[in-house]
């Protein structure tokens, strides 16, 4: 009658919608630490900041000036790593590698350690975007183990391509942490901008298709004439919306991610079990050989 052993892991998740000071890492760090403190007092387990949360988005020639290494002796990461002894933290930053290439990065910090760094794979360089001019694209998409189980991180344009979330799903991620600095656009008669409707539709689709949790953290505020719309969301493995942040306002958006729900949904809907990776691989090989 009942489904047997239930995984009883619940994550108190907080998605942070912040407006950043463009190019002022110290001021942004201070704001991060304030939210972390608040989250700690509210017993949050995992706090997720949006894309480039430590720097702002339209950086252009500021990129080298705001870059940091996610290591303990970095003045920005040291206090963040210290704070990660109390709760897990995802921050957005400009990562500079040893050979001075600059990446849009998300770092997962826990227990005073850097658990994983994701480099943005797809750098939009069209329409209002110019990321490819200033940044290097990442070349790996990997799920990683945390104290809550296996997770995956992606940044904005990464999840406009179906393959990165698909790969993370196959690599074992049951919770996708998506971070954006999504410029608001597409004003029409609807009460949401088109950009918000597109992103929310895509996130919900991934939750449904991958029977996984999909959490999206998006910034707010303005940079020159561009607005960022916020509206953080968490969809559960059944595709239901379990948290939705306000549009355009700074906020800490809380959700309880009940990992036991994965089992209930996947028992009903075994899409993961039935996924045919060999078929995908064979067909990709054929298509690439064309």
């Amino acid at each position: 009658m009942f489904g047997g052993k239930i995984l009883n892991m619940r994550i108190n998740l907080a998605l942070i919608q912040i407006a950043t000071k463009l190019g002022d890492v110290e001021a942004n760090l201070e704001k991060h630490l304030g939210f972390v403190q608040q989250a700690k007092s509210e017993k949050v387990d995992l706090i997720v900041f949006p894309e480039l949360s430590l720097t702002g988005y339209v950086l252009q020639d500021m990129v080298p000036a705001v870059a940091h290494r996610p290591v303990d002796d970095d003045p920005v990461f040291r206090p963040l790593l210290k704070a990660s002894r109390d709760l897990d933290i995802v921050v957005g930053f400009v990562d500079e590698d040893a050979r001075h290439r600059f990446y849009i990065g998300s770092a997962y910090l826990s227990g005073g350690q850097v658990v994983h760094v994701h480099h943005k794979l797809y750098l939009p360089t069209y329409a209002l975007f110019d990321e490819g001019r200033f940044f290097t694209r990442g070349d790996a998409v990997r799920a990683f183990d945390t104290r809550f189980g296996r997770l995956g991180m992606l940044i904005c344009e990464d999840f406009w391509h179906a393959s990165p979330p698909y790969l993370l799903w196959l690599d074992g991620a049951d919770l996708l942490l998506l971070a954006s600095a999504s410029p608001g656009r597409g004003l029409n008669e609807h009460d949401r901008l088109e950009s918000a409707r597109w992103v929310e539709g895509v996130n919900q689709a991934y939750a449904n298709l991958f029977t996984s949790f999909v959490a999206h953290s998006n910034r707010v505020g303005y940079e020159d004439g561009m607005n960022f719309w916020g509206g953080a969301t968490v969809f559960d493995p059944g595709g239901d919306l379990i948290a939705h942040g306000p549009y355009f306002e700074e906020a800490m958006v809380s959700a309880v991610v009940d990992l036991g729900h994965l089992r209930r949904v996947r028992a009903r809907l075994p899409l993961l079990r039935d996924e045919r990776t060999s078929l995908v691989q064979a067909e990709l090989a054929r298509i690439q050989a064309k």
Partner: protein, 274 residues
Amino acid sequence: MNIDLSIHTGLARKILTGFIRSEITRAGFSRALVGLSGGLDSAVSCVLAAEALGPGNVLAVRLPYRTSSPDSLEDATIVAEQLGVPLETIEITGMVEPLLERDSKIPNVRKGNILARARMIVLYDQSEVWKGLVVGTSNKTEILLGYTTLWGDMAAAINPLGDLYKTQLRQLARALEVPPSVLNKPPSADLWVGQTDEAEMGLRYDEVDKLLYLLVDQRCTPEDCVEAGFDRAYVEKVMLRVRRNHFKRLMPPIAKLSNRTVGYDFLYPRDWGT
């Protein structure tokens, strides 16, 4: 093809007031000023600025010339009083007459440009006195068609209206409860007696906005527009206007000589560091 320029005015209001608040305060100011003509565009800018910053922080400035329509002056007063913003009136007649008198046959276009630029001088000077930034009033239709005076009415610190077509601005004005006399009058730069935008350009806003929406927002080809029911000659006329006036939408090009040049490879957003 469905051409619907309807906007959610509540959403526009939210974004635009947030924009004004953000961009004025991060530049180190708390105040703004708007040249209030009595027309629709400046009324909307003034309402948004008052909502964003508080009416006490927005100065409305009337800048009449001796031929300016008394109705417009009156409408500007009604808007300012309705909002509770301070109102200043600085007549520009005495400033511009000596220049106009140099040429008794001065055509209307030159005269109009002089008036628009004189108003810019006064507004920017008052900006220093008021310790506030000039909020612009140019809409997307004017900007695309170049129906504007370079360094005149285009001059502003920020522009909240530049991505709204005139017909969309009218929807927003209605939602913002701009007085009916302002809403219902024919759009006019009021640079000479009896001037109207539509007569001067030979275009109707309701029609040209739809065409611009197809060409610009929807990236349609001229053929697509003809198929959507627009006359080919009309499409070509509008496209030519958009192209010929593009210079008004850009800073003057700097001749590149060095390895790093402003505008080419010295690239920073305006909000740099704020």
